[in-house]
C-alpha cells in the first residue's frame, strides 16, 4: 500500500485494532511450540549480539591503531623511497657532469650493475639534509664506483677516505673521496677481480694520509 493510503489508516486511529479484531474472529491458532522457538531465537541472537559487541569493543580500537601504524609506515616508507630515488638521480646527474672515465657508466648503468646505499652515520646538522652515497659494482667489470653527495668540505688537513670490507673480512683502503663545492665526489677503485662484492663499506673523515679506519665515520653500508 502506498504511504499516502496508509497515512489515512494511521490517522484514523483504528488501524492498530484491525489485527486484534481479525484474531478474535479467526479460527487460526498458532502452534504452541512457536512461542518457545521465537524466544529461543531471540535469546540466541542476544548471545551472539553480546559476543559481537564484546569482540567489536575489543578489536575496534586495536584495528584503528593497527591501521594508523600501517598508514604511517607506508607514508614513511614512501617518503624514504622517493628521497632515495631523488638522491640517486642527483648523484647520477652529478656523475655525468663530472666523470670523464667511460668505464664508470658501464659499471653504474649496464646489465649486471649492483648498488648499495651508503647512509649517514651520527647526528645530522640542523637544517641540512644528511650526506649519502652509493657503491656500485658490476658482475661484468672489476671496477668499483663510489659516489657521495651533500658531504661537507673537509677541514684543512682532513679528507674523506673509503674502506671496503671483502667477503673474507679483510678491510681494503680504497682511497680518498674528493668532494667539490657542492659536496659531490666520486672515486673508482680497481678491485683486480671481475664482479667484486663487498659486504660492508665505510667512509671516514680522517686526517690526511691515514691508512686504516678511524676518525669520524660519516657514511656506512653493511649488508644484512
Amino acid at each position: 500500500m502506498a504511504n499516502e493510503d496508509m497515512k489515512e489508516f494511521d490517522e484514523s486511529g483504528v488501524a492498530e485494532e484491525l489485527p486484534g479484531a481479525l484474531a478474535m474472529a479467526s479460527p487460526h491458532r498458532q502452534p504452541t511450540e512457536l512461542r518457545g522457538r521465537v524466544l529461543r531465537a531471540a535469546e540466541a541472537r542476544a548471545g551472539r549480539s553480546r559476543g559481537f559487541r564484546l569482540d567489536a569493543a575489543l578489536f575496534r580500537p586495536l584495528g584503528a591503531i593497527a591501521t594508523l601504524i600501517l598508514v604511517t609506515a607506508l607514508i614513511v616508507w614512501n617518503l624514504q623511497l622517493q628521497q632515495g630515488l631523488a638522491d640517486e638521480r642527483t648523484l647520477l646527474q652529478q656523475l655525468r657532469e663530472n666523470a670523464r672515465e667511460s668505464v664508470i657508466f658501464e659499471v653504474v648503468d649496464s646489465p649486471g650493475s649492483q648498488k648499495e646505499m651508503l647512509r649517514a652515520v651520527g647526528p645530522g646538522r640542523p637544517g641540512e639534509d644528511p650526506p649519502y652515497g652509493k657503491v656500485y659494482t658490476n658482475a661484468n667489470h672489476s671496477e668499483v664506483v663510489v659516489m657521495g653527495g651533500r658531504l661537507p668540505n673537509p677541514v684543512a688537513g682532513h679528507e674523506y677516505r673509503l674502506y671496503l670490507t671483502d667477503r673474507s673480512g679483510a678491510i681494503v683502503n680504497v682511497g680518498v673521496l674528493k668532494v667539490d663545492a657542492s659536496g659531490f665526489g666520486y672515486l673508482i677503485y680497481q678491485s683486480g677481480m671481475r664482479g667484486p662484492a663487498y659486504p660492508a663499506a665505510r667512509l671516514y673523515l680522517q686526517p690526511s694520509g691515514a691508512t686504516s679506519p678511524g676518525g669520524t665515520l660519516v657514511l656506512a653500508f653493511t649488508a644484512p
Binding site: 485494532e17 484491525l18 486484534g20 481479525l22 498458532q30 531465537a41 541472537r45
Partner: protein
C-alpha cells in the same frame, strides 16, 4: 494489586534485551500477527512471519520512541511489512482470494454467533472494532480488508473491485469514520486519537 506494565514500558525493557519483557509482548501480540499471516500467506509461512516480526522487535526495540506514537502502531507496522513482503511472492488473484476470506470471517464474526477468541486481544477496543467491521456494508469492509490486510493501494483496489478510484476513496473514508466512531463509543471519552 500491581497494574500490568504498558507495552511501551515493556518495549523499553526489550531494548535492554530483557527476555521476560519480550515474552510478555509476544503473548500480547503473537496471536494477532499469526492470524493475519495465516489468512494471507498460509499457516506454514505464518510461523515465519511471526518469528521474523518478533526478532525484528528484539533487534530494533531501541528505535521505538514512545513520544512519537503507541507501541501497537509501531510493532504492527513491522508485522504488516513482513506479511506484505511474503505476499509479494504471490499473484494478485491469490491475495484477493485470501482477503475475501478475511472479509467473510470478519463479516460472519458477530452474525454467526460463533464463539470469539477472547484471548486473541486483551484490548476492549479490538472487540469494538470487530463489531464495527461486522456491521459495515460489505463493499466498505472489503476496501478496508484489501487495503490494510492485503496491502493493496487504492488504485489497485479500484481495478480489483471495478469501482472508480473516487468511490474506493469514499468507501475507505466512510469505513474508517464508522470504525472510529464505534471505537469512541465503546471506549468512552477516555479514547483519544493516536494518529
Amino acid at each position: 494489586m500491581a497494574s500490568e506494565p504498558s507495552d511501551e514500558a515493556l518495549a523499553a525493557r526489550v531494548a535492554r534485551k530483557d527476555i521476560a519483557a519480550f515474552a510478555i509482548l509476544y503473548d500480547r501480540y503473537a496471536r494477532r500477527v499469526y492470524a493475519w499471516s495465516a489468512h494471507m500467506v498460509g499457516t506454514a509461512e505464518a510461523e515465519d512471519v511471526v518469528q521474523e516480526s518478533f526478532l525484528r522487535l528484539w533487534d530494533k526495540a531501541e528505535q521505538f520512541d514512545a513520544r512519537r506514537g503507541r507501541f501497537a502502531s509501531w510493532f504492527l507496522a513491522i508485522a504488516r511489512h513482513q506479511v506484505i513482503r511474503q505476499l509479494r511472492r504471490r499473484g494478485v488473484d491469490r491475495r484477493v482470494i485470501a482477503a475475501d476470506e478475511i472479509e467473510r470471517v470478519l463479516g460472519d464474526a458477530i452474525a454467526s454467533g460463533r464463539e470469539l477468541d477472547e484471548e486473541a486481544s486483551s484490548h476492549e477496543s479490538s472487540a469494538a472494532v470487530l463489531g464495527a467491521l461486522a456491521s459495515l456494508p460489505t463493499e466498505q469492509r472489503r476496501v478496508i480488508v484489501l487495503a490494510y490486510f492485503a496491502g493493496f493501494t487504492q488504485s489497485a483496489i479500484a481495478k480489483i473491485t471495478g469501482a472508480p478510484l473516487g468511490t474506493v476513496k469514499k468507501r475507505t473514508r466512510l469505513a474508517l469514520q464508522k470504525l472510529r466512531e464505534r471505537l469512541a463509543d465503546a471506549l468512552g471519552s477516555g479514547w483519544t486519537e493516536t494518529g
